[in-house]
């Protein structure tokens, strides 16, 4: 599109002769060949994981990784799913992610609406507190949050993780939504106000529907972030049965120490939910990534 021709040839070029055309075709071919090779190398870790998960450890030990698989087996996935309890871990991940997602989107849309649409004392200050909060290293929060959850009796429960994810991501969500809400023309709201619409209804019935694209993008992005969190899961949970899949994988590694096919199967299974989100909501995912920096 915009910079389309940065890589293409300059415009003022002598009329192509057959030699230069053949040369050009060769160059094009070479370019695609190299690009495909680079892409394959880039994806090697993933491909290697897929291949490993379909073989048996004995096969790999005896014949080496770079050999033709003796047989394709799916038993590794089965073992990861049931024996290593990846199914349970995945369920836990959903139980934690979905309430956190709803909570953070609702709460952040409240604060974003106030920050974007009202002039009041401390508006910018509060906004910048949220912005700064998004960049904090988690380590600064670990110990007090650990203590707080203990004091509230929430330690080692889903509730602790749901609460910390909701609040930590409030900063980023508020930042994104506030900037999005500022782009909504104010006339709509003024018109509603003249008609006697209450402020809460303006938020609920006018602003939120208009913010849906940003909410969808944020939800997609935050789903992968919360789903993929590891640190909070190992800090705030002790029971293995409550662990989300990221922390469960660490357990799995200890359990199946050298059985790499099972470990990679578990890792691949753990990726499926985010992969589905990525495939079907890719547009929103990319929008979400760029929303925070698009300004």
């Amino acid at each position: 599109m915009a910079t389309q021709s940065i890589k293409t040839q300059p415009i003022s070029r002598p009329a192509p002769t057959s030699v230069s055309r053949a040369w050009k075709r060769f160059l094009t071919f070479l370019f695609y060949f190299l690009l495909t090779a680079a892409t394959l190398i880039w994806l090697t870790p993933v491909l290697a994981a897929v291949i490993t998960s379909l073989r048996t450890m004995d096969d790999i030990t005896i014949n080496g990784f770079w050999s033709w698989p003796r047989e394709i087996v799916f038993s590794n996935f089965e073992r990861a799913w049931t024996t290593a309890r990846v199914s349970k871990y995945l369920l836990n991940s959903f139980i934690i992610t979905i309430p956190a997602l709803i909570g953070m989107l609702f709460l952040s849309s409240l604060s974003a609406f106030a920050l974007a649409r009202y002039r009041f004392r401390g508006n910018l200050f509060i906004y910048f507190i949220y912005v700064a909060g998004t960049m904090l290293p988690f380590q600064i929060l670990l110990l007090p949050v650990f203590r707080l959850t203990n004091a509230l009796g929430l330690y080692d429960s889903y509730g602790a993780l749901i609460l910390i994810h909701t609040t930590f991501q409030l900063g980023f969500c508020t930042f994104v939504l506030r900037n999005f809400m500022r782009t909504v023309p104010g006339e709509i709201m003024d018109a509603a106000r003249v008609d006697g619409c209450s402020e809460f209804r303006i938020y609920w019935q006018i602003m939120l529907p208009l913010t849906l694209p940003a909410l969808a993008a944020l939800a997609t992005l935050q789903f992968t972030w919360v789903f993929n969190d590891y640190l909070w899961a190992i800090v705030l949970l002790r029971s293995d049965v409550l662990r989300p899949v990221t922390a469960g994988l660490a357990t799995l590694r200890g359990q199946f120490n050298t059985d790499w096919p099972v470990i990679t199967s578990g890792a691949l299974l753990a990726t499926i939910p985010t992969l589905i989100v990525f495939i079907f909501l890719q547009r929103y995912f990319i929008q979400g990534l760029t929303l925070g920096s698009g300004k």
């Binding site: 880039w42 290697a48 649409r117 009041f120 670990l142 590891y230």
Partner: protein
């Protein structure tokens, strides 16, 4: 019309109607607070309302089983909150919202009744402070029904549409919106940030009460701890690589894929696909690639006839670079997406103008495209720095901080949660925070400048 306008002059005037509303609003808020933050049944803190609710909802093993309907309380509290907020902000709705809130209060009371009756029957059912708070709140909501009813009946005869008569003062509206998230944020994020700084001056071990020991933790950290120096150096390596490699690779790929080309989408997706994988998954997969005997890399090398195989994650010199490589693999796609979005916003006319002026490809890139992408570059660099300081998952999964791969984040985690030197861990966290703060401040100063111009 005139009458209503003159009546608006004091917001106290509205009390005959919004008073009950405000009361129910307060009651709902207190109820919610009591539910989450005060011990619910009995004296044991772990029997907290939220905990019991979550345990019952998800049938967690080892759950505390009390009343199965406990989830009614927060639902009722939130609904009350919403209904009364609605009523308080739009008085013409109050005649719906106010009885609704009372109805919700009644439901809660119905829930409480059996719990009260069987107080002695079950060890967990000894009503605690949270219970009584919520109980009183529920009664308050019923009372407000009695208080509000005459007003409701009176008003419902003559609906006054088109006239805005908010009984809340105007200046309060934004604060009402911002209060619930900000309070949560203050409790879980802002408070802890400050509290860690205090903890870093104590010798807390996670169990006993923290005791103030001044700067001893920092003295030990800066003067006597080799692990700290190692972590700092590794973080620095991580940071330098993260600024240089993903940024340049991401930019290059973005420039490449910005052209329309055959199958461009496929290549693009392939390069940012690693972004979907969680860091523990990446750590596991790469640890398998690096496996010294059977891993993909070493078995390829031995097939090629290399005899002196490197140990990768097992070797002190290589391990940290191996971990960083895995991190870079993920980061490149992220940077590429950001640059692609930036390139989309570049106005093509600038490029055409430069081309007409006879700018070569390199000049075009250096003097036109790069300056236009400068804001994106700033953000990419800030993100890279923040991410490299946060580096934890990969190190924790791949090496557990061994083989000279310690980074500040993992060092802090291990000191605090493996060695139970929580005060010392807090000191490390504060150092990490201080380093991040330099970059956060830099970013904020730019953001503030933009905001003030805007």
């Amino acid at each position: 019309m005139q009458q209503t306008l003159s009546r608006r002059s004091t917001w106290f005037d509205g009390w005959d109607f919004s008073g009950p509303n405000v009361m129910a609003l307060l009651a709902g808020a207190v109820m919610l607070f009591a539910f989450f933050f005060l011990p619910w049944f009995g004296d044991n803190v772990s029997n907290n309302g939220a905990r019991i609710m979550v345990d019952i909802l998800y049938e967690a093993p080892g759950a505390l089983r009390t009343e199965a309907l406990i989830w009614l309380i927060p639902v009722v509290a939130v609904a009350t909150f919403a209904a009364t907020l609605w009523g308080a902000m739009a008085p013409e709705q109050a005649r719906i919202a106010s009885p609704l809130a009372s109805l919700l209060g009644l439901t809660t009371l119905l829930y409480f009744a059996p719990a009260l009756g069987r107080a002695g029957a079950h060890p967990l059912l000894t009503p605690g402070a949270g219970f009584w708070t919520a109980f009183v709140c529920a009664i308050a909501m019923i009372l407000q029904f009695v208080l509000a009813m005459p007003a409701v009946v009176e008003r419902s005869g003559a609906p006054q549409r088109g006239v805005r008569r908010s009984h809340l003062p105007q200046w309060l509206t934004p604060y009402l919106f911002i209060a619930p998230p900000l309070i949560l944020y203050a409790i879980w994020i802002l408070g802890p940030t400050v509290y860690t700084m205090y903890l870093s001056l104590t010798n807390w071990d996670g169990v006993s009460t923290p005791q103030f020991i001044g700067l001893a933790n920092y003295e030990r950290l800066f003067m006597r701890d080799r692990n700290f120096v190692e972590s700092l150096v590794n973080n620095l390596r991580w940071l330098v690589v993260f600024i240089l490699v993903p940024t340049s690779m991401g930019l290059g790929l973005a420039l490449l894929f910005n052209n329309e080309m055959w199958g461009g989408r496929f290549y693009k997706v392939s390069f940012y696909a690693p972004l979907v994988l969680s860091l523990p998954v990446i750590g596991l997969i790469w640890a398998w690639l690096y496996n010294p005997r059977l891993g993909l890399i070493n078995s390829l090398l031995s097939m090629m006839g290399v005899t002196n195989l490197p140990g990768w994650l097992g070797s002190r010199d290589l391990a940290i670079w191996c971990v960083i490589a895995a991190a870079v693999w993920r980061q490149v796609g992220y940077v590429m997406v950001l640059y692609l979005a930036g390139l989309k916003n570049v106005d093509p006319s600038y490029i055409d103008a430069a081309r007409v002026d006879g700018a070569g490809r390199l000049a075009l890139f250096r003097h036109v495209v790069m300056p236009l992408l400068a804001p994106v570059t700033t953000i990419v660099i800030v993100i890279s720095i923040i991410d490299s300081l946060r580096a934890f998952d990969l190190v924790s999964i791949m090496t557990r901080g061994g083989q000279g791969t310690q980074v500040l984040a993992n060092f802090m985690y291990m000191e605090a949660f493996n060695n139970y030197r929580m005060g010392y861990g807090a000191a490390i966290a504060v150092v990490l925070f201080a380093i991040s703060m330099v970059f956060i401040a830099f970013y904020l100063s730019r953001a503030i400048r933009d905001e003030l111009e805007y």
